[in-house]
């Protein structure tokens, strides 16, 4: 893959692959845990000079979207008043996100519910797709374990929420950075701190999801390599740790989607109701 080193969006993972690949080729070491983040182009093509190939990351995202749409469509095809079991699951997902939006941002923010629901379901399914491994049929790939994907989502949330606040309050939006009841002397120090902490929101939102996914899945691969390396004799020990840890990774996948959704709602609440 000589052309992989030039793609700007995947430079970190490729540097990881190159560095770790060069280090691991010392005669039958453990398999490289960073290989799972490698971007493979299935259909290379360029758009306006930018690399817009259809990669395994794009495939994972398309699969996530298709799974969500297919599930909701299938669950709601009868729309019965008394839900069947599958429809109950879809209704539970709906009510779960509805509770998040209503309790943090209020009833009038329900206009933004489709956005928060899409974010929650997409992140949840993308996280879970990295944990399902059907050997020979489906190799797991977590599209949210790349900072470019999570940063795109976080930047969308940040820019969207800022624009919503500006369109709703005009210049009064700047009152967000001025907490009430603070003496004017402290405001000189406090307002820059508030502005800086506002601008670190997309960074923290994206890095939280990215780091959780990358670190978690790397640990899974590392302990899996231990199980394989120790074989029958000693392989039960890391396996004993792997089983609950995989369960923890399922919990983390769900929790990170929940945290992304609830922080989006909190930022939305900050923009819609500016009262510090």
């Amino acid at each position: 893959m000589a052309t992989t080193t030039e793609a700007a969006t995947t430079s970190a993972t490729e540097a990881a692959k190159a560095a770790a690949g060069a280090a691991a080729h010392h005669g039958g070491g453990l398999p490289n845990p960073m290989h799972q983040f490698e971007i493979i182009r299935y259909v290379p093509f360029k758009l306006f000079g930018l690399d817009a190939s259809f990669t395994n990351s794009a495939l994972a995202m398309v699969m996530a979207a298709a799974l969500i749409v297919a599930f909701i469509w299938y669950a709601m095809r009868n729309r019965s008043l008394i839900p069947s079991r599958v429809q109950s699951v879809a209704e539970m997902a709906y009510e779960f996100v509805e509770n998040i939006v209503k309790q943090t941002a209020g009833q009038e923010a329900m206009g933004y519910f489709p956005f928060v629901f899409t974010l929650f379901m997409f992140i949840l399914v993308s996280n879970l797709l990295g944990l399902i491994n059907i050997p020979g049929v489906f190799a797991p790939f977590t599209s949210t374990s790349h900072i470019v994907v999570t940063f795109a989502m976080a930047a969308t949330v940040f820019i969207g929420v800022t624009l919503i606040g500006i369109f709703k309050h005009g210049l009064g939006f700047l009152k967000l950075f001025v907490p009430s009841g603070v003496p004017a002397v402290m405001l000189v120090l406090l307002v820059p701190i508030e502005v800086i902490s506002y601008f670190t929101r997309p960074v923290s939102l994206s890095v939280r999801l990215f780091a959780n996914m990358m670190a978690g899945h790397t640990m899974l691969k590392v302990f899996g390599a231990f199980v394989g390396a120790l074989g029958i004799v000693g392989g039960w020990a890391p396996l004993l740790f792997m089983v609950p840890f995989t369960g923890l990774e399922f919990l983390v996948a769900f929790l990170q989607a929940y945290v992304f959704a609830i922080l989006t709602s909190i930022y939305l609440n900050d923009a819609l109701h500016i009262h510090h």
Partner: protein, 75 residues
């Protein structure tokens, strides 16, 4: 000391940040448990806030881990 050795040492030092994550997460759930033992009926309603606090505390530790990865792989 070559750059490769310096990278490894730097990545190791950057991982000390995860100690803060451990302290923060233990703090959150410890307080949640002590509050839940005093007022069990109100515990379920605040569990969502406990999870939110856990994720935020873990995030700062993971920022340190990301710095370790950047030092190790992107320089």
């Amino acid at each position: 000391m070559g750059p490769e050795a310096a990278k490894l040492i730097g990545a190791g030092i950057a991982c000390i940040a995860l100690a803060g994550a451990g302290v923060g997460i233990g703090n959150i759930f410890g307080n949640y448990l002590s509050g839940a033992l005093r007022n069990p009926s109100a515990a379920q309603g605040q569990f969502g806030n406990a999870l939110l606090g856990f994720a935020l505390a873990e995030a700062t530790g993971l920022f340190g881990l990301v710095m370790a990865f950047i030092i190790l792989f992107a320089f």
